[in-house]
C-alpha cells in the first residue's frame, strides 16, 4: 500500500503546495526514472513530501497562442532525499500539456516524506499541474542540441541547468533537437547536456529578466557508435542473376572509406563478382566475359553513355545523389533489355535531406563541391560540380622532346530540384560530363597527333506516384546529346553524335501479406538521332595485301526503339516465381529488327537464413545502325544477337554480420555479328590487333560464358569487408567451322578482398588485394618491312592466343576524421599498388617487334585528399 498525496500547482512561478488526501494508484514509471516499489506504512505520524522547488513548466506554444488552459494529473515518485525519481501522467487535458508537465516535474525538488521518528522515506504523490495561459511563465532560455560535425539535431537529449543556489531545472529536446526552460531566476547558470551515444558537454549562460537566452550545443559522437547512424544508408544492389537481387547494404560512410574507391560508391561495384578489371583503368565494365559495348548504364532507368570518367577515377555523377546502385550481371528482370551483357543502374535518392548540407573536397586528381539546400517542407535544391586537374600536375611530367601532352582532364556537374508530393515524388535534374585528352606536336602548328573526347549533357525528369495498397506509377525521361570524338595525325577524324531520348513508364502492384500476386507492366522506349563520321587517313602502304584506302564513312540515322514488358510476382509458400516477357523493336532507315525475350526467376526460402535462387531467360541485342546500313557497307538483313542465360545460386546468412552468396551461371550466345573488323570504331580498351575478319557482316558467331561467383560479406560496427571471387571462361566461334577461341575479355580468375577497420580516435585503415588473370592478346609472331614508309608492320599469330601475366595489386588507405562543431574534416591517404607490382596492362613492342615492351602499371602514387563536410 502506498502513501499517495495529491498536490495541485498552477502554471506559475514557485508556489507552495497543499497536502493532498491519500489515494492508492497503480505504480508505473516514466521513461528514464526507476520506480519506487517500496511499500510504506500507512501511519498517521507519516508526513508527506513537501514541495521545496517547483519551477513553472514551459507553456506549449500552440496552446499559448490560442489562449488555451488545462491541467495534468501526475503520479510522482519522491525519493528519501527529496529528488524526483519517477513521473507518470495519469490524465491530461491536452497531450502537449502532458508532455510539458512530465518534463517539468523532473525538476521538482521536495522536502522528503518522514516518519514520526524523523526518518526520511520514499513516497509517491499525486500532483496536478494547472495551465493558465494568462499566467504562463516567460521563457528564460531556449536552445538546440546537435551532433558536432554533421549537425544532426539530437532528440531526447537531456539538459540540466543548475545555478549557484543549487536550483536545478531539467528539460528534454524535441525531435528537432530544441528545448526551452521557463521561470529561471536571473543570474548565471550552467547547463549539462547529455545524449545517448555522445560525449556530455556543459555550457554556461546568463538569464536576464525580460530576455530569452539562447544556447547552441554540439555534442561529439562517442567513438563507439551506439546511437542513430549519422549518414544516410546507401544500398548497393549487387550480383545475383536472380532478380530478387542480392542486396548489399553499406552505409555511405563505409563506402567512402573502402580502399580503391576514393569514396565513389559506383567504383565499389568494380570489386564485385563477375566484373573483370579493365586495363589501366580505362573505366569500362566487363561483366561476365562480355565486351564493354554489350553492357549498358542507366540513370533511373534511362540510358546514359558512360558511368566513369577517363581512367575510371570517378563516376560521372556525385555519389551523394545516389540512393542505390543496381548491378545486374545477368538473368535479370525484363524491365531491362537491349543488352547481351550486364547493366548498372544509378538510382537517385527520393527523399528530401533532413537539413541543408554539403561538402568540398580536394585530392591529387580533382576538386569537388556538393551543396544540398532544403527549401521549405517539400523542396530541395542540389548543386554539384567536379573538375580534375591531373592535367596541370601531369603535363609537365609527360611533356618530352617534340611532344606536348595534355593529360586527361574531366569535369561534371549536376543541378537538381526535388519535390516531395503528397503521395509520391518528383524531381528534375540537369547533368553534364566532359572528358578529353590530347597529344600535340611541338611548334607553332601544334598538330594534334592524337586526341579523344567524350561528352554528354542530359536532362532527367522523374516522377513517382503511390496510389495506395502497393499500386504505384513511375515515369522517367532522360534526354540530351552525347558525343565521342577522335582525331589523329592532323588528318584523321572520327566522331559519333547521338541525340537520345530515353523514357520509362512502369505501373507496379506490389504483393502484400494478403495478396500473393504482384505485377509490373511497363515500357522503356528510346529514340536516338545518331550521326557519325569516320574519316581515317590510311595511305595504301599501310595495308600489305591491298592498296585500298579506308573508306570515308558518314551518315545519320533515326533509331526508334519501342518496347513493352510485363512481369508477375507469384508467392506460393516458400517459393516465389517471377515470370516475365519483354519485346523490343529497333526501327532504322535501313531495317527493322524485332525480338522477344521470355525470362523466369525462382526463389526458394529454405528456412530463415537460406535462399536458393535460379533464373533462365533470353536476352537480345539489336545490330547497330552502322551494321545495318548499306551505305556503310552494312547488312540490312541482320537479326538481333541472342544470349540464353541460366543461373543457380544460394545465399546463406551465417550470422547477422556475415553472409555468403554463391552463384553459378551459363550464357549461351548465338547469332553474334561477325565481320568488318578492319573498320574504325571507338574501341573501349587497348587497340585491336589483327588478324581481322574483314568479310561482310553476318549473324555467324556463337559463344559462351560460364562460371561461378562467390561473395562473402562481413559487416560489424567496426569492420567492413568482403571477399569476391569469380572463376569463369568466355570463348567464341566467329564463323561456322572456325575454331573456338578465347574471347578477348576472358579472365578465368578474379579475386578481390577488401577490408576497412575503425580504430580509436577516429582513425580508420583499409586494404584491398586484387588478383586477376591477364587478358588474352594477339601476339606478334613476325614483321614485314615497308620500304615506302620505312617502318615495320607486325604479323600476328592466332587471335587472342596468348595471355598477359596475372595482375596483382595491394592498395592501402588511411583516414582520420576531425570533428568540429559545425563541420567535419576528413583527411586520407590512398596508396594504390603499394607493393609496386609491375603488372602488364597492355602488350607493346619495340619498333622492330623483336622485343616485347609491355605497358606496366604506374608506380605507387600516394593520393592525399581532404574533405570538409557540413
Amino acid at each position: 500500500m502506498f502513501l499517495v498525496f495529491l498536490f495541485c500547482a498552477l502554471a506559475l512561478a514557485d508556489q507552495p503546495a497543499e497536502s493532498p488526501p491519500r489515494e492508492d494508484i497503480d505504480q508505473t514509471k516514466s521513461d528514464d526514472i526507476e520506480p519506487i516499489t517500496k511499500a510504506l506504512d500507512d501511519s498517521p505520524s507519516f508526513s508527506p513530501p513537501v514541495p521545496s522547488y517547483i519551477p513553472p513548466p514551459v507553456y506549449p506554444p500552440e496552446a499559448l497562442a490560442q489562449g488555451l488552459g488545462g491541467s495534468v494529473l501526475m503520479a510522482i515518485d519522491v525519493a528519501a532525499d527529496g529528488s524526483v525519481v519517477g513521473v507518470e501522467v495519469l490524465e491530461a487535458d491536452r497531450a502537449d500539456f502532458g508532455e510539458a508537465a512530465l518534463i517539468n516535474a523532473r525538476s521538482f525538488v521536495f522536502l522528503p516524506a518522514t516518519l514520526a521518528d524523523g526518518t526520511t522515506v520514499d513516497a509517491r504523490i499525486e500532483y496536478r499541474t494547472i495551465f493558465k495561459a494568462e499566467q504562463a511563465a516567460a521563457i528564460s532560455v531556449e536552445g538546440r542540441i546537435r551532433e558536432a560535425g554533421p549537425r544532426i539535431p539530437l532528440k531526447q537529449a537531456n539538459v540540466v541547468a543548475v545555478n549557484p543556489d543549487g536550483v536545478r531545472v531539467i528539460a528534454q529536446t524535441d525531435d528537432d533537437g530544441r528545448f526551452r526552460m521557463a521561470g529561471l531566476s536571473p543570474g548565471p547558470w550552467i547547463a549539462s547536456v547529455t545524449a545517448a551515444g555522445h560525449v556530455t558537454d556543459t555550457v554556461e549562460f546568463e538569464v536576464e529578466d525580460g530576455k530569452v537566452s539562447s544556447i547552441s550545443v554540439y555534442l561529439v559522437r562517442d567513438e563507439v557508435r551506439t546511437g542513430q547512424t549519422a549518414d544516410l544508408e546507401l544500398t548497393i544492389i549487387a550480383a545475383a542473376p536472380e532478380t530478387e537481387v542480392t542486396e548489399r547494404t553499406l552505409t555511405a560512410e563505409e563506402v567512402r572509406y573502402l580502399p580503391g574507391s576514393g569514396g565513389d560508391v559506383v567504383k565499389v561495384v568494380q570489386n564485385l563478382p563477375g566484373i573483370a578489371r579493365s586495363p589501366l583503368g580505362t573505366g569500362n565494365l566487363r561483366i561476365r566475359g562480355t565486351a564493354p559495348e554489350d553492357s549498358l548504364y542507366f540513370l533511373d532507368g534511362g540510358q546514359i553513355p558512360i558511368v566513369f570518367h577517363f581512367a575510371g577515377l570517378t563516376t560521372v555523377l556525385a555519389s551523394d545523389l545516389l540512393e542505390e546502385v543496381a548491378y545486374l550481371p545477368g538473368s535479370y528482370t525484363v524491365r531491362y533489355g537491349r543488352a547481351l551483357g550486364g547493366l548498372v543502374d544509378l538510382r537517385t535518392e527520393r527523399a528530401l535531406p533532413e537539413r541543408s548540407n554539403g561538402y568540398a573536397s580536394v585530392d591529387v586528381f580533382q576538386a569537388a563541391l556538393f551543396v544540398q539546400q532544403r527549401i521549405g517542407k517539400r523542396d530541395a535544391l542540389t548543386v554539384t560540380a567536379r573538375r580534375s586537374y591531373a592535367d596541370a600536375v601531369l603535363n609537365p611530367i609527360l611533356n618530352k622532346g617534340d611532344l606536348t601532352v595534355q593529360a586527361p582532364r574531366y569535369y561534371d556537374s549536376q543541378l537538381r530540384w526535388s519535390r516531395k508530393l503528397d503521395a509520391g515524388w518528383s524531381d528534375v535534374m540537369f547533368l553534364l560530363s566532359d572528358d578529353r585528352f590530347r597529344f600535340l606536336g611541338q611548334g607553332e602548328d601544334e598538330v594534334v597527333l592524337a586526341g579523344f573526347a567524350t561528352q554528354f549533357q542530359k536532362l532527367r525528369w522523374l516522377t513517382s506516384r503511390n496510389f495506395g495498397d502497393g499500386l504505384s506509377l513511375d515515369t522517367s525521361v532522360v534526354l540530351g546529346p552525347e558525343k565521342k570524338f577522335f582525331e589523329s595525325d592532323g588528318s584523321s577524324e572520327a566522331w559519333e553524335k547521338e541525340m537520345r531520348v530515353a523514357t520509362r513508364i512502369e505501373l507496379k502492384q506490389e504483393p502484400t501479406a494478403d495478396r500473393s500476386i504482384g505485377w509490373i507492366l511497363g515500357t522503356d522506349p528510346n529514340f536516338n538521332r545518331s550521326s557519325f563520321l569516320y574519316d581515317i587517313a590510311r595511305p595504301p602502304e599501310r595495308t600489305v595485301s591491298s592498296s585500298r584506302t579506308a573508306p570515308r564513312e558518314s551518315g545519320a540515322n533515326n533509331i526508334w526503339q519501342p518496347s513493352a514488358f510485363g512481369e508477375l510476382s507469384l508467392r506460393a509458400g516458400q517459393f516465389k516465381f517471377l515470370p516475365g516477357l519483354r519485346t523490343d523493336a529497333q526501327v532504322t532507315n535501313a531495317a527493322t529488327v524485332f525480338s522477344l525475350d521470355p525470362r523466369v526467376r525462382v526463389l526458394w526460402e529454405v528456412g530463415s537464413r537460406t535462399t536458393i535462387k535460379g533464373g533462365a531467360g533470353r536476352h537480345s541485342q539489336a545490330p547497330t545502325a552502322r551494321q545495318l546500313s548499306p551505305s556503310s557497307d552494312g547488312n540490312p538483313d541482320l537479326s538481333a544477337e541472342l544470349s540464353y542465360q541460366y543461373s543457380l545460386g544460394i545465399k546463406h546468412v551465417v550470422t547477422e554480420w556475415f553472409n555468403v552468396d554463391l552463384t553459378g551461371f551459363y550464357h549461351h550466345l548465338t547469332d553474334l555479328i561477325s565481320g568488318r573488323e578492319d573498320r574504325f570504331f571507338f574501341y573501349s580498351g587497348p587497340p585491336p590487333a589483327g588478324p581481322f575478319d574483314t568479310a561482310p557482316y553476318a549473324n555467324d558467331g556463337t559463344g559462351r560464358t560460364f562460371g561461378m561467383e562467390l561473395l562473402a560479406n562481413v559487416n560489424t560496427d567496426t569492420t567492413t569487408g568482403f571477399l569476391s571471387a569469380t572463376v569463369g571462361r568466355s570463348d567464341r566461334v566467329k564463323r561456322p567451322g572456325a575454331e573456338r577461341t578465347l574471347f578477348e575479355y576472358d579472365q578465368p580468375l578474379i579475386l578481390n578482398a577488401l577490408v576497412s577497420q575503425k580504430l580509436p580516435k577516429r582513425w580508420r585503415i583499409g586494404a584491398r588485394v586484387r588478383y586477376g588473370s591477364g587478358n588474352p592478346y594477339t601476339p606478334v609472331t613476325n614483321r614485314i618491312f615497308n620500304h615506302d614508309r620505312r617502318e615495320f608492320i607486325p604479323v600476328y599469330g592466332e587471335r587472342d592466343s596468348a595471355r598477359l601475366p596475372p595482375f596483382f595489386s595491394l592498395d592501402i588507405r588511411i583516414d582520420k576524421d576531425y570533428v568540429f562543431k559545425k563541420w567535419t574534416l576528413t583527411t586520407y591517404l590512398d596508396l594504390q599498388n603499394a607493393t609496386y607490382s609491375k603488372n602488364v596492362e597492355n602488350q607493346g613492342y619495340s619498333y622492330d617487334y623483336r622485343e616485347e615492351e609491355p605497358t606496366l602499371s604506374p608506380p605507387p602514387l600516394p593520393a592525399f585528399g581532404l574533405r570538409g563536410e557540413w
Partner: protein
C-alpha cells in the same frame, strides 16, 4: 592510346636512336630504276642486304599485282621471280624484273600503284618457300600452291622465326607516261672520310635533289654505334648533315643512307668505314 603513351615517352631517350642500328640480318632498302614503269617493260631492281653476323643466306624477289584473284604475274612470261645467294656482311643484289602487260588497260586513264615488289632474305634452311622458288626460271609460270603463297605472304610469315628472316616490300607505280617519275639524287656534299674514330661522334653531309613531296625524308643506318636521328625531313636542293657515333668495338662499320622522296622514288648511298683509335 596507352601504347602511344609508352612509345612517346620512350622516344627521345638516349643519345642515339635505336632504329638506326642494324644488328641483324635484314633487307635495308630496295631501289626500282625507274620508280615508275610502263606495263610490259622491265626495270632494274637493286636490293641492299645487311648480314652483320655473316650467316649463310639465300634470297628471293617476286613481283605481285594482286587485284583480288592472286598475282597477275603468276601466269609467267615476264621476269617476275628471282633467286640469289648473297654473300658477305653486306651486299647489293641487282637484277631485271618486269611488269605484267595485263596492266595496260588499267593504266590507260592514269597511274596505278598496285604492284608490290617483295624481297625475302633468310638464313639458309629457315624459309621453305625460298627452296620452292630456287629451281624456277624468272619467267616460268608459278605453280599454283606457290602462287597462292606469294600472293599472301602474311599467311606463312607467322610460321617463320623472327631471327634470320627479313621480308620487305614496296609499291611500284605503273603508267603509260613518257615522262615517268625518276629517283631522287643523293650525293655526299663533302669528301667522305675513310676512317671513323671509335666511340666518337662524326658527321656526314649530303646534298639531295629531285621531285619531292612534303614527306621526303633521309634515313640513316649503321652496323654499330648509332645515329642521333632516325630520319630527317628534306626538301629538294637541301644539304643535310647527319650526326652519328661510331662503335666502340670492331674494325669496320657499314653505313647506309636512304633518301625517299615521298613519291615512290628512292636513292641509297652506302659505304664501309674502318675504325681507328
Amino acid at each position: 592510346m596507352v601504347t602511344v603513351i609508352s612509345f612517346l615517352l620512350l622516344a627521345g631517350c638516349g643519345e642515339t636512336s635505336p632504329e638506326t642500328l642494324v644488328d641483324e640480318l635484314r633487307v635495308i632498302a630496295s631501289v626500282a630504276e625507274p620508280p615508275e614503269v610502263q606495263p610490259g617493260t622491265t626495270f632494274t631492281y637493286a636490293t641492299y642486304f645487311a648480314n652483320p653476323d655473316e650467316q649463310d643466306t639465300v634470297a628471293i624477289t617476286w613481283v605481285c599485282t594482286n587485284l583480288g584473284d592472286g598475282c597477275l604475274e603468276a601466269q609467267g612470261g615476264i621476269e617476275a621471280l628471282a633467286y640469289t645467294e648473297p654473300e658477305g656482311d653486306s651486299s647489293i643484289w641487282t637484277r631485271d624484273l618486269g611488269v605484267t602487260p595485263a596492266l595496260v588497260p588499267l593504266v590507260a586513264d592514269g597511274p596505278l600503284t598496285a604492284t608490290q615488289l617483295w624481297t625475302l632474305y633468310c638464313e639458309r634452311g629457315t624459309c621453305p618457300i625460298v627452296d620452292d622458288v630456287a629451281g624456277l626460271g624468272t619467267t616460268d609460270p608459278w605453280p599454283e600452291e606457290l602462287g597462292e603463297s606469294l600472293a599472301n605472304p602474311t599467311a606463312w610469315m607467322s610460321g617463320l622465326p623472327m631471327a634470320g628472316v627479313s621480308l620487305a616490300y614496296q609499291l611500284l607505280t605503273t603508267s603509260l607516261s613518257d615522262d615517268p617519275q625518276l629517283n631522287p639524287v643523293l650525293e655526299p656534299a663533302d669528301d667522305v672520310p675513310d676512317t671513323l674514330a671509335r666511340d666518337e661522334t662524326f658527321e656526314l653531309s649530303f646534298t639531295v635533289d629531285g621531285n619531292f613531296s612534303d614527306q621526303a625524308q633521309l634515313y640513316n643506318y649503321i652496323t654499330g654505334g648509332g645515329f642521333k636521328m632516325a630520319n630527317t625531313y628534306v626538301s629538294a636542293g637541301d644539304t643535310v648533315n647527319i650526326e652519328g657515333t661510331a662503335p666502340k668495338d670492331g674494325d669496320e662499320v657499314r653505313i647506309w643512307v636512304v633518301l625517299a622522296d615521298g613519291l615512290g622514288g628512292v636513292s641509297v648511298w652506302t659505304e664501309t668505314f674502318s675504325l681507328s683509335g
